[in-house]
């Protein structure tokens, strides 16, 4: 065997983890180069909900009090739609797209044969999901602004809040997806997605629930996201908002760590 001396140098400098993470984002961006129309669907989804439920159903609701203020129903629902669309988008991207790349296309097998490591893959995919989700959220916030549903400067923080929701759900959903073996497993996603969407105080205040049930709802992640967005959009920021932020950050962080571990176990065998 020929000796490898310390003077042997790589032709290129080793990747930093930031660079490596962004490379996967770059790869994903190229695949979407010709598919910008897909962005339209992600943006339109919450807009449709806003018009049908916020404005349509809202017309039936005469008076509505939130945090002691009288607010139009649509103004109450819109931040919920913002949070819910970040949630839906993250789930869709992280479950379906990730599963396809992971199990069917076996994309990561080839990526991991390069200097890239599993954590780069996990981070890259989550960040990509946020770029997509973030652009939907920004567009939707603009609609809210035009419709006059933003009543506080705090609303500027609603965009990062939506990104935080996306981050938490992307990472968690991706971690969960690593246990999926076939497309049948996606039934389970629907089973989680629909109740979270409907019962996280998205369409009505959590005060509709009593006792334990209310306590359970308050502990669910989408509820935290919905109230966070609502608090920011209406300017009712408090301790509860901080709890939501910590909750979602922790959820995303744990999810991301699990994804890295699982990819190590499943792909580097």
């Amino acid at each position: 065997m020929s000796a490898t001396t310390p003077t042997d140098r790589l032709t290129v400098a080793p990747l930093t983890s930031v660079q490596a993470t962004l490379l996967l984002v770059e790869r994903n961006a190229i695949t979407y180069r010709g598919a910008w129309k897909l962005f339209l669907t992600g943006f339109l989804e919450p807009v449709f909900y806003l018009f049908s439920i916020g404005i349509g159903v809202g017309a039936l609701i005469e008076s509505f009090t939130y945090h002691g203020q009288e607010v139009p129903y649509a103004e109450f629902v819109a931040p919920g739609m913002l949070a819910a669309s970040a949630f839906n988008g993250a789930l869709l991207d992280s479950c379906f797209n990730f599963f396809f790349k992971f199990k069917h296309q076996r994309l990561y097998d080839s990526v991991l044969a390069t200097p890239m490591v599993t954590d780069d893959v996990a981070r890259g995919e989550v960040i990509w999901g946020q770029l997509r989700g973030g652009s939907y959220s920004a567009a939707f916030l603009l609609v809210m602004l035009v419709m006059g549903y933003l009543s506080s400067w705090w609303a500027l923080l609603a965009l990062p809040a939506a990104l935080l929701i996306g981050f938490a759900f992307s990472a968690a959903a991706m971690a969960w997806t690593t246990w999926f073996t076939s497309w049948q497993d996606f039934e389970k996603v629907t089973l989680v997605q629909v109740p979270l969407f409907l019962f996280s105080a998205t369409f009505f205040p959590v005060t509709a629930y009593d006792g334990v049930l209310r306590w359970v709802v308050e502990c669910t992640p989408l509820y935290r996201g919905v109230v966070l967005c609502r608090e920011l959009c209406t300017g009712n920021v408090g301790v509860e908002s901080a709890i939501s932020v910590v909750y979602l950050l922790a959820m995303g962080g744990i999810g991301l760590a699990i994804v890295g571990r699982r990819l190590d176990r499943l792909l580097l065998t």
Binding site: M1, R27, V111, P115
Partner: protein, 312 residues
């Protein structure tokens, strides 16, 4: 380039690689031969630094894959058994993005992609979707992809499986040129002609261990004879026999060669000089319906070492 001592790989209860020693030198073409399940691919994955060894010592380019995985992977090229091309990217972008994964700058990545497309005759397909390529084209693209980082060591896991003869020969030419330019090649295959053509040195693996090691010529010399006389007797006159008639003839010819192997339709007599064997056969008043004298090949060595039983 590669050094392994007592290398093991276990998947739960199953031991795929059961303690092998290896030394691959810079600039050589080294082959892993073996039936399916012999442990070739498991060994290759460990060498590619994507599969941690269960036990034993492994050094690739002087580095420990458990510590320097990314640095090792940055300097080797891998052509996996199954094509793992990115079906969401076109042919050229597959190469560009793959080069980027190695930390190569955008302009340089594009330049290398075009250069490699030229090398594997895929320039016209640059904008095509990967799914629209033929099997041979995909393989060529995978090989091109394994070269984007100008590797010092190229690992090829069954590179020509599923290719038509034209594509195989084209690929051999390209691999030979790479070797001439100083790239160390490690190839797994179960095509003996491929191993004889390409490899300076090879090991025959069976059941997770190395059954034999050496140059193709040395292996033939050690484990087979120089020539093989194939002798077929008609079955008409012996149809009544319950046993294979060749069994009976084998006993009569046993002393003519180093070794006699009985196949359902013929006898293989391993000897230094096949023609002398045939003269002996005729001198004993036997009249085979067909005879053939050929040189011993790696295939004879392989079958001798790993048996004729089907494994999967």
């Amino acid at each position: 380039m590669i050094s392994a001592r007592g290398l093991r790989k276990a998947f739960g209860e199953f031991e795929a690689v059961r303690g092998i020693d290896l030394d691959v030198r810079r600039g050589e073409a080294f082959g892993f031969l073996g039936p399916n399940g012999a442990g070739k691919s498991s060994t290759m994955r460990m060498v590619a630094a994507v599969s941690p060894p269960t036990d034993g010592e492994l050094r690739i380019l002087g580095m420990d894959p458990a510590v320097d995985g990314p640095a090792i992977r940055g300097r080797i090229g891998v052509c996996p058994q199954a094509d793992t091309l990115d079906s969401e990217l076109n042919v050229r972008d597959n190469l560009v993005i793959y080069a980027r994964y190695f930390g190569i700058g955008r302009a340089e990545a594009r330049a290398r992609a075009d250069e490699l497309l030229e090398l594997v005759n895929l320039t016209e397909k640059a904008k095509a979707k990967v799914d629209d390529l033929s099997g041979g084209m995909k393989r060529r693209l995978t090989i091109a992809r394994s070269l984007v980082n100008r590797p010092e060591l190229l690992l090829l896991d069954e590179p020509t499986t599923g290719l038509d003869p034209q594509a195989r020969h084209l690929l051999w030419d390209q691999l030979f040129r790479l070797k001439s330019s100083g790239v160390t090649l490690v190839i797994t295959t179960h095509y003996m002609d491929e191993a004889e053509q390409l490899c300076d040195r090879l090991v025959v693996m069976d059941g997770g261990v190395i059954a034999a090691e050496g140059s193709p010529a040395a292996l033939i010399a050690e484990h087979s004879s120089r020539e093989v006389a194939e002798v077929r007797f008609g079955s008409a006159d012996t149809a009544a026999d319950a046993v294979n008639p060749h069994e009976r003839y084998a006993e009569q010819l046993a002393d003519l060669g180093d070794r006699v192997e009985v196949l359902p339709d013929r006898l293989l007599v391993y000897a230094a000089d096949g023609d002398t064997v045939l003269e002996g056969v005729h001198a004993r008043g036997l009249h085979p319906v067909a005879t053939l004298v050929r040189r011993s090949t790696l295939e004879d060595v392989f079958l001798r070492l790993t048996g004729r039983t089907l494994v999967d």
